[in-house]
C-alpha cells in the first residue's frame, strides 16, 4: 500500500520510521513546510538551538552517546553554511549524523536567489555523502538511503538538501524496507587467513600491545564486550586513543591509559617498545604516531579497520584486516581459543615487569599546593566526586580536554564525547545538550576552557528553555591555554594573542540566562562547590579559576618519537627544534 503525502510530511514520516525521536534545528524560509509538518505531530521532539553549529554538535553528542543517528535540521544559505564545521567534525571523528537542509525551490536554483548557497557543493568534501533531492518522488527513498549510509561501514555525516517546492509537492511515500540501499554494503567480516596469521603472532609475541580507537565504540557495545574478553584472556596490555576511551574500562588491570601527544608515559613507551602492535579501530593519526620514521621501530603491526583507506595510509601494516571490529574480534577469539589459547607467558611476564617500571614514573603526578586550584586537581576532584554515577562527559578543545582525558576515568563506551580529529573549540557545550536530551536523568558535564566555551555560549538559551541540567565545568585559566603552551615551548615565550581578555562574569552570565552560576577559586571550597553543581537540578555554569600557566604533560613534541616525551617543566628546555615547529 502506498501513501500520498507532501515532501514535508515525508521528512517527518521517514524520521519516525527510522526511529528518530529528537531533531536539533533552527527554522528559516526554506524549511517552513517541514516546520509546519513538525508542528502538527507529537512523535518527534524538536530542540530549538541558538545557532546551527550548535544543532550539528548536539546531534553529534546525541549520536555518540546513544550509538544512534543524530539529526539536525537547518534552513538554506546561512543555515547550511553554519552547519559546515559540525559536518567536518563528524567526518573526522566518524560520527553518524544527518543534516537536513532547506534549499530554494528547484526552479530558482542557480539564480543567486535569496539565501541560495550551493549546499551540496560546499558540503561535498565534508560529508560522507550528500544529496540534492529534485523530485518529491525520490525524497523518502533518499532519506532512508541517507540513514543507511550514515550508519553503515565507517559511520559519518550525510546531508540531504531539500528545495522548498519539493517539500510542498506530493508523491507516494516509500517505506524503509522498500528503499534501495543495496549498492552500499561495506564488508563486515575480516579475512580469516589474515586473522589466523595475527593469532599466530599473538601466540608468540613477547611484547604485545593492543592499540584501540574510536572504531571499537562505533562498532557497538558487542565490540567493547569482545575487546574486554580478549584482553582479559590474553593478558596483553591495552592503550587507546582519545576517541576510544571507555571501550576498555579505566579500572581494568591491563589498562595503560591513553596514548599519543599527551598520552601516558607507560602507554607511549609500550607502543615504542612493543614487538606486536594490534591496532583495533584506530587510524595512526599524527597525534598518535609522532615522528613516523621512528614510530614503534621493532614491531610487527596488525591493523583492523572497516575502511580500507585507513590501512597503509601512514604506517606500513604487516597484517591488514578489513572488517567491522566486533566481527573480527569474534573470529579472533574463536581462532585463538580453537588453537589452544596460547600466549608467550614468559615473555609477557617480563613485558609487564618493564611496564610496571614505566608506570612507577607516575607521569600524571602533580602537587596541589598553594592557594590556587590546579586544573589537574579540579578534574581529580570531579572524578572522585562523580565516580560510580551515571555520568557522561563532553569537552571543549585545549589543555582542559587533555587533562579530562588523563584524569577522568571511563568505564564504559559512549560516555566520553570530545572533538578529536578536527579539534573544534565550541563542540562541548552543544554536544552536552545533545547528550542530555538522550539521557535526561544522567549527569552530563562539559569540561570546558573559558575560551572554547564562549564560542557557542548562546546555547545557554537552549539549555534553559528545554530544562536541560547540563553542567558547564569551566577550567578558567584566562588563557588560550594550549596556544599559550605552544608559544612558551616553540615561540620563545612570545604570547601573541593567547589570553582571554574582557571575559564575562560567568556567574552573572548564568543568571542572565536564568541559570545557576558558581564561582570557585579556593582549593578548600572545591569539593563543596562541585557537589553544589551536581545537586542543582538545572543547568549550571561553574567558573573554576585555575592556575594560569600550567602546562599539559606528558607531551611528545611534534616531530619527536614516542620515547622522547617531555614529562614536566624541567624537561622542556630546548626540547623542541626548529623542525618540529612547522608541524601542528
Amino acid at each position: 500500500m502506498t501513501r500520498q503525502m507532501t515532501g514535508a510530511e515525508m521528512v517527518v514520516q521517514a524520521l519516525k520510521d527510522q526511529g528518530v525521536d529528537t531533531v536539533f534545528g533552527y527554522p528559516g524560509g526554506a524549511v517552513l513546510p517541514i516546520y509546519d509538518a513538525i508542528f502538527q505531530q507529537n512523535d518527534i521532539r524538536h530542540i530549538l538551538v541558538r545557532h546551527e553549529q550548535g544543532a550539528v554538535h548536539a546531534a553529534e553528542g546525541y549520536a555518540r552517546s546513544t550509538g544512534k543517528v543524530g539529526v539536525a535540521l537547518v534552513t538554506s544559505g546561512p543555515g547550511a553554511t553554519n552547519a559546515v564545521t559540525g559536518l567536518t567534525d563528524a567526518l573526522l571523528d566518524s560520527i553518524p549524523i544527518i543534516v537536513l537542509s532547506g534549499q530554494v525551490p528547484t526552479f530558482m536554483i542557480g539564480s543567486d536567489a535569496f539565501q541560495e548557497a550551493d549546499t551540496v557543493g560546499i558540503t561535498r568534501p565534508c560529508t560522507k555523502h550528500n544529496w540534492l533531492v529534485k523530485d518529491t518522488k525520490t525524497l523518502s527513498g533518499t532519506l532512508h538511503q541517507a540513514f543507511h549510509v550514515a550508519k553503515s561501514g565507517r559511520p559519518g555525516p550525510v546531508l540531504v538538501d531539500i528545495p522548498k517546492d519539493v517539500q510542498f509537492a506530493s508523491a507516494d511515500y516509500t517505506a524503509p524496507k522498500s528503499a534501495n540501499t543495496s549498492n552500499y554494503q561495506p564488508q563486515l567480516k575480516g579475512d580469516i587467513d589474515e586473522i589466523t596469521a595475527l593469532v599466530e603472532l599473538m601466540e608468540n609475541a613477547k611484547r604485545p600491545v593492543f592499540y584501540t580507537g574510536g572504531g571499537v565504540i562505533n562498532s557497538g557495545p558487542a565490540a567493547s564486550q569482545l575487546l574486554r574478553e580478549l584482553v582479559e584472556a590474553t593478558g596483553f596490555p591495552i592503550t587507546s586513543t582519545l576517541m576510544g576511551l571507555g571501550a576498555y574500562p579505566a579500572s581494568g588491570t591491563k589498562w595503560l591509559g591513553m596514548l599519543g601527544m599527551h598520552g601516558l608515559y607507560e602507554a607511549n613507551m609500550a607502543m615504542h617498545g612493543c614487538d606486536l602492535m594490534i591496532n583495533i579501530g584506530a587510524r595512526f593519526d599524527d597525534r598518535i604516531t609522532g615522528l613516523i620514521s621512528a614510530f614503534s621501530p621493532k614491531s610487527k603491526k596488525a591493523h583492523i579497520d572497516i575502511d580500507p583507506s585507513s590501512i597503509n595510509k601512514v604506517i606500513k601494516t604487516d597484517i591488514p584486516i578489513v572488517g567491522d571490529v566486533a566481527h573480527v574480534l569474534e573470529d579472533m577469539l574463536k581462532v585463538w581459543k580453537a588453537r589452544g589459547r596460547k600466549t608467550n607467558k614468559e615473555g609477557l611476564a617480563k613485558w609487564w615487569t618493564q611496564i610496571e617500571q614505566w608506570r612507577a614514573k607516575d607521569c600524571l603526578a602533580f602537587k596541589q599546593d598553594g592557594p590556587t586550584i590546579r586544573p589537574q586537581y579540579a578534574l581529580q576532584r570531579l572524578e572522585e566526586l562523580t565516580k560510580g554515577m551515571d555520568r557522561y562527559i563532553t569537552t571543549e578543545v585545549g589543555q582542559h580536554q587533555m587533562w579530562a582525558a588523563q584524569y577522568l576515568n571511563f568505564e564504559d563506551p559512549n560516555r566520553f564525547m570530545t572533538s578529536g580529529g578536527l579539534g573544534t573549540m565550541g563542540y562541548g557545550f552543544p554536544a552536552s545538550i545533545g547528550v542530555q536530551m538522550a539521557h535526561p536523568d544522567s549527569l552530563v558535564v562539559n569540561v570546558a576552557g573559558e575560551a572554547s566555551w564562549l564560542m557557542n555560549m548562546q546555547e545557554m538559551g537552549t539549555a534553559v528553555q528545554f530544562r536541560l541540567p547540563v553542567k558547564q565545568f569551566i577550567l578558567n585559566n584566562e588563557r588560550l591555554g594550549m596556544v599559550r603552551q605552544w608559544q612558551e615551548l616553540l615561540h620563545g615565550e612570545r604570547y601573541s594573542h593567547s589570553w582571554s581578555e574582557a571575559l564575562p562574569d560567568f556567574v552573572k552570565l548564568a543568571e542572565a540566562f536564568g541559570a545557576k552560576g558558581i564561582l570557585c577559586s579556593d582549593p578548600k571550597d572545591l569539593d563543596d562547590a562541585i557537589m553544589e553543581m551536581i545537586n542543582h537540578d538545572g543547568p549550571v555554569i561553574f567558573d573554576c579559576l585555575v592556575e594560569k600557566h600550567e602546562n599539559c604533560f606528558p607531551m611528545i613534541p611534534s616531530g619527536k618519537p614516542h620515547n622522547e616525551m617531555l614529562l614536566g617543566e624541567a624537561s622542556t628546555q630546548g626540547a623542541i627544534e626548529a623542525g618540529g615547529a612547522v608541524l601542528v
Binding site: 540534492l132 549498492n183 552500499y184 589474515e194 590501512i311 606500513k316 601494516t317 578489513v322
Partner: protein, 187 residues
Amino acid sequence: MAALKIKKGSTSHSAYNLRPNFSDVQERHTLAVLVDNEPGVLARVIGLFAGRGYNIESLTVAEVDHTGHTSRITIVTTGTPQVIEQIKAQLGRIVPVHEVHDLTVEGPSVERELCLFKVAGEGDKRLEALRLADIFRASVVDTTLDSFVFELTGAPEKIDAFAELMRPLGLVEVARTGVAALSRGAE
C-alpha cells in the same frame, strides 16, 4: 605489487593485497572506475584528487550503461605505490563508486585516445605533413588550401610521437579526448 580491487558488496575480498611497497618510485597507473551516473559524481572524484593532492594526467568519463545508469571514468595518474593504493582505496569509499580497477596491474590492457590536429602550411611542409599522416594512419577530416585537420586514434605514446612530428610542420592546435582503456581478453 598485487592489485587491490575494491568491489562494493563483496565479502570475499582479502586485504592481503593491501600489503604495501613503500617505495619512492613514481608509477603511472590507469584506473577504471565504475560509478552511478548521478549528479555530482565526477565532482566527487575530481574533488578527491584535488583535496588530497593526487595527480590527474588524463580523465575521461561517459555513461556506458544507459539502462543501469552507470558511467565509466578512466583516470591516468602518477604516484608512489603507496599513493596509488591510497587513491584506489579513497575512490572505493565514495558511495556511488561500484568498482575500482587498476588496469596497470590487473593484467594486459589496451589504451586508446582520439586526437584532432590542425596543421597549417604550404608547399613541401604541407606535403610532408600529409605523408606522415598516412604513415600514422591518421585521416584527414577537414582541409583548406593551406591547412588540414587530421584525426588520429591510438595509444597516448603514438599520439605524442605524431604531435612531435607535426610541430615543425605547422601544428596550430591539438584536441585530445584523454585515455579510454580496457583489459585484454574475454573477462
